[in-house]
Each structure stands twice: as structure tokens, then as C-alpha cells.
């Protein structure tokens, strides 16, 4: 391409190298505004994060290099284990459920359905709607004694309200409630991605399958699923990563005015936040953050490999 550029402007008598240098400068001028901000506020903190994981620092006194002490602490820290475990349970609950719902909705809305656009909008909207507001509504609707859900369940089943699940307020039901909420809030987004993927499927493949006598289910498993494999990998990756990053949903569903979570609802990012900004234990918080980073990287690498294998 550059060759052609040079040819196209070959009328100028300047030597090629100057021309090339000018091209480079023009290109860098396009990159610079974004890259400077990106380097300063993303790349530098990322490098700083790795260093911080190996020090003990409260933000005001001098930093102490402590080697892998922070990581040894992590291995023994049962609160951290609990947070990690809760995050894993949450991820295992959210990922398959969201994928299944998103794919099902996308396939349904890919048909000629009356009100298709309205439904797309309605399903997607919770994803963009303010979390604090929708979490407040959910907490009201799922309120253990006053909420319409438990009142409705009581009316239908006759079970006394006291014996019904206390949802977010119940340590055994909290995880279920937050998974349900997350699926409700986010599935529309993944549905849109699946819809985009479905539009990329060659209709001739369905026609060919139909000619071969494949029924609806066979067409789904033999055409739709393989054709959607790259989309599915993308969705899986984003979903797992987003589940590991969760914080705000838990705070808004479970925490009181002090923004504290208990043992059955604390998650990884909550633990990082608290260790850094409440206990001012920056080094230790960064060791936790490095664990989060490694998990997400691990997932990404696995997924990229999978994508290479199944994507073609």
C-alpha cells in the first residue's frame, strides 16, 4: 500500500526516504492522542501493578520489598479463599445460564416474529440500565417479607412467608439471587452478539441441510452450532472475564451503607478494593489483583487456542 502511495505522489521530486518519514509522522500523529493517554493511564499502572505485588506499602511510609511474602499470605488467607471460591461459584452459575438464554433468545428473535424489534430492545435494555437503580428495584421486589415475589409465592403455594427463601438476605439463597439477577441484566447483550453471529451464517447451508432431509434439531446441531463456534468462544471469553471482575452487582444487591460484604457474598474484586482502600495494604491488594490477572489471562489463552482450533 505504501508503495502505491509513493507512486501516486511520485510527481514530487523529494527522495523516497523523506516521503516515507513524512508518512510515518502522519501515522504517528493519528495514533498519538489516544496512545499517550492509553500508555500513561493503562500501560504504566499495569507495569506498576506487577512491582507493587512484591512490596509492603501503606501509601505514605517507604515501600518495603518483601519478595513473595504477599503470595505466601494469600495461600494462608482464608477470607481471600472464600472470596475466590464465591467468585468461581458465581462464574459457574452465570456463564452457562447466560449463554443458553442468550442463544435461545437470539434464535427465536432471528425468526420472522411480530414485535421482534421491540423485544430486542426490551431484552437488551437491562444491560445498559443503571445498575444501582435496577438493583434497588430487585431488592424491593425480592424483599423477604414485603416483596411482591414472596407474597405471590405465598398466595400460590400457601407456604408461610417466613418459610420462603429470603433471597438476597439469605446466605444460602444469596448466590442464586445474584446469579439470577446477572442473567436477567446481561443476557440481552450476549443475545445481540449471537444475533450478529446468526446473521453471518450462510443461508445456503440451511437449504443444503434441508435438501439432505435434516430436521430442525439436526440443522441446529449440524449447521447453527458449528457456524456459531467463533461467536460462542467470544461470548464465553467475555462472560468468564466479566464474571471474575464482578463487584458492583454484589455491593448493590447485598451491602448496606458501609459497603461491606459478608463471607457468603464477598468476591475477589471486593477483597482487592477493601485491602487497598480500607486497610491501605497496597502491596497485598496488588498480589490479589495479580491473581485476578492470571486467572483472566489463563482463560483468554485457553479460549484463543480453542478459537484457533474450532474457528476454521
Amino acid at each position: 500500500m505504501q508503495k502505491e502511495t509513493t507512486l501516486a505522489t511520485g510527481k514530487s521530486n523529494k527522495p523516497f526516504i523523506t516521503r516515507g518519514m513524512k508518512d510515518h509522522l502522519v501515522a504517528y500523529s493519528f495514533i498519538a492522542p489516544n496512545f499517550i493517554g492509553f500508555a500513561l493511564f493503562t500501560l504504566v499502572p499495569m507495569i506498576f501493578a506487577i512491582i507493587l505485588a512484591f512490596v509492603k506499602w501503606d501509601g505514605s511510609n517507604p515501600m518495603n520489598y518483601v519478595g513473595i511474602d504477599n503470595f505466601i499470605r494469600l495461600i494462608k488467607d482464608t477470607t481471600f479463599h472464600k472470596a475466590l471460591w464465591n467468585t468461581v461459584v458465581y462464574t459457574i452459575g452465570v456463564v452457562p445460564l447466560t449463554m443458553a438464554c442468550a442463544l435461545a433468545l437470539a434464535i427465536l428473535l432471528n425468526q420472522k416474529i411480530v414485535g421482534r424489534n421491540f423485544m430486542r430492545t426490551a431484552f437488551f435494555f437491562p444491560y445498559v440500565a443503571s445498575l444501582v437503580a435496577v438493583a434497588a428495584v430487585w431488592n424491593f421486589i425480592f424483599s423477604p417479607t414485603m416483596g411482591p415475589i414472596n407474597n405471590l409465592l405465598h398466595t400460590i403455594t400457601g407456604i408461610p412467608i417466613e418459610d420462603l427463601p429470603r433471597w438476597a438476605a439469605d446466605k444460602d439463597w444469596a448466590m442464586f439471587t445474584v446469579i439470577l439477577f446477572t442473567v436477567w441484566k446481561n443476557m440481552g447483550y450476549y443475545m445481540v452478539i449471537y444475533l450478529a453471529g446468526l446473521q453471518g451464517v450462510n443461508p445456503e447451508l440451511y437449504e443444503a441441510a434441508e435438501l439432505d432431509g435434516a430436521n430442525g434439531w439436526k440443522r441446529f446441531t449440524n449447521v447453527t452450532i458449528p457456524q456459531l463456534a467463533p461467536t460462542t468462544f467470544f461470548v464465553l471469553m467475555i462472560l468468564v472475564i466479566n464474571s471474575f471482575k464482578v463487584y458492583d452487582i454484589f455491593i448493590n444487591l447485598f451491602a448496606g451503607a458501609d459497603n461491606q460484604l459478608n463471607d457468603s457474598t464477598r468476591v475477589l474484586v471486593y477483597q482487592i478494593y477493601n485491602t487497598a482502600f480500607r486497610s491501605l495494604d497496597y502491596g497485598y491488594a496488588n498480589a490479589m489483583a495479580l491473581v485476578l490477572f492470571l486467572i483472566v489471562m489463563g482463560v483468554t489463552i485457553v479460549q484463543f487456542r480453542g478459537e484457533k482450533r474450532y474457528g476454521q
Binding site: A8, D23, F41, F124, L131, A136, V192, A257, F293
Partner: protein, 279 residues
């Protein structure tokens, strides 16, 4: 044979409609409940069976929320941040993306790789050192911190670059022969052609900034600087029994996002599709 197939098809479609309508109800009811409750007295919010349209519509809730909390300030702060971040993001991302997609220069692949490599790194993994850095720069408790935090995302560059790659190089070549500079090509050719991608990025950036929770929670501890999200959260935890007011404030916080979303959603599916999910 054909008849039975048609019958099967009709049955299947009925099932599809039932499922979709059920899901639609689940998706929409919380908002209707929110809206309905925002016009009620606290004591009526949880009355059962549910009254969807209260006998006495209480507009007072929508008057009181502006005085009980500095909701106006919160909204102004959030509008300011969302607009600035979105503009910066659109401008710098599409600018950088043009170079990555259509120009050749030394270090292109390396620079682009540094964007790609960070796209998957969660912000939460480096939010602590970022905070320490911002504090050293004197940016703690300023809106500038949030702007710097949100405006230069790798995602934006990636999304725009994917879109630009779908635009044939020949178009740019033709423009170059016509004497347009690279900046001219970007402004007159690429920007108008990339409207779907730009609106996708607008929705994503605006909504992300509008709804951001953890960033403002870390950086903005002064009440007068707070955004709607953490302001609303503060209100909910302070007046947890003011059900009607909480719902009214929630409705107010959702409306701007709803407007942006409805205005731009036509381009949305298109934008997501063209952002090259298939890689």
C-alpha cells in the same frame, strides 16, 4: 406431508411466541414496578395485591428528590463526564484506528499488539496502582481522574479498526489520488462511512461512563463531585425506607440512558455485527 410440516411449524411458532412473551414480561415488569412505585406513598409501595396505577398519583416524590439529595448536581456531573469521555473516546479512537487500519508505519504491529494485549486485562487488576498514580498527580477527587480513566480505551481503538478494515483500501487510494490528505480522508471519508461503528462506540462509552460505579467510588468521595450512580447508592443506603423516593430517583437515573439507547439502537445490532466478532 406438506400440511403436517406446516402444522408442526405453526405449533413451534406458538411455543416461540409464548416463550418470548414470558421473557419479555420478566424483562419489563421491574421497570413498570419502578415507575408505578415512584408515584406512591411509602406505605403503598408494598401493598399486595399490587396496584399498578395508584389512586392518588403522588408527583410530590419527583419534587422531593431534588431537595432531599443534590440529585441535580449528581446528574450534571454525570452528564459532563459522560459527554466529555464519549467525545474524547470517539475522536481519539477513530483517529488512531485509521492509522492502524489504513496506514503503514514502523512499529504498527507492536503498538497494535500493546492495545490487543491489554484489552483482556481487567481494569480491576491495575486500579490500585492507577489510583496511586492519579493521587500523586493530584487528581484524586477531581473529574479529570474519571475522564483519563475512561477516555482512552483499547476497546474503542479495536472496534473502530475492525470496522475500518472492512472499508476497501481502493476508496482511500482514490481519495489520495484526488489530493485529499490523510486527515482529509479520515474526516471526509472514514468518519461518514463508519457511522454504525461510531454509534456502537457512543452507546458503549456513554453508558459505561454513565453507569460506572467502582471508578467514581474510588476517586470521588466529595458529595459535590459524585455521579448519579454513587449519589443514588448513597441516597438508598441513607434513606432505605423512603421507597417511593428511591424509585423516583431510580427512574430519573435511567431516563437519559433510555433516550440515548432508543435514539441509537437502530445502528446497534449493525455495529456489533460489523465490529468483527469473528475476528
Amino acid at each position: 406431508m406438506v400440511g403436517s410440516k406446516k402444522k408442526f411449524h405453526a405449533g413451534w411458532m406458538t411455543l416461540a411466541y409464548i416463550a418470548l412473551i414470558a421473557v419479555a414480561i420478566c424483562m419489563i415488569i421491574p421497570y413498570i414496578w419502578m415507575l408505578s412505585s415512584s408515584f406512591k406513598l411509602n406505605k403503598d409501595v408494598f401493598s399486595f395485591p399490587m396496584v399498578w396505577i395508584p389512586d392518588n398519583i403522588r408527583w410530590q416524590n419527583y419534587v422531593d428528590i431534588w431537595t432531599r439529595i443534590p440529585l441535580g448536581t449528581f446528574i450534571m456531573n454525570t452528564v459532563k463526564l459522560s459527554v466529555i469521555v464519549t467525545l474524547l473516546q470517539l475522536l481519539t479512537s477513530s483517529f488512531a484506528a485509521y492509522a492502524f487500519a489504513k496506514l503503514r508505519f514502523r512499529g504498527r504491529n507492536l503498538l497494535f499488539l500493546s492495545y490487543i494485549a491489554t484489552i483482556a486485562i481487567p481494569w480491576q487488576a491495575y486500579m490500585v496502582p492507577q489510583f496511586i498514580m492519579m493521587r500523586e498527580l493530584g487528581l484524586n477527587n477531581t473529574h479529570l481522574a474519571i475522564i483519563f480513566l475512561q477516555a482512552f480505551s483499547a476497546f474503542g481503538v479495536f472496534l473502530m479498526r475492525q470496522f475500518y478494515q472492512g472499508i476497501p483500501d481502493e476508496l482511500c487510494e482514490a481519495a489520495r489520488i484526488d489530493g485529499l490528505s490523510e486527515y482529509g480522508i479520515w474526516a471526509r471519508l472514514m468518519l461518514p462511512l463508519s457511522k454504525p461503528a461510531l454509534s456502537t462506540l457512543t452507546i458503549f462509552t456513554f453508558v459505561t461512563t454513565w453507569n460506572d460505579f467502582l471508578g467514581p467510588m474510588i476517586y470521588l468521595t466529595k458529595t459535590e463531585l459524585k455521579t448519579i450512580q454513587i449519589g443514588l447508592r448513597m441516597f438508598i443506603s441513607q434513606y432505605s425506607a423512603e421507597y417511593g423516593l428511591i424509585m423516583a430517583a431510580s427512574v430519573v437515573s435511567i431516563i437519559p440512558v433510555l433516550i440515548i439507547f432508543l435514539a441509537l439502537q437502530k445502528n446497534f445490532v449493525q455495529g456489533v455485527a460489523s465490529s468483527g466478532i469473528k475476528g
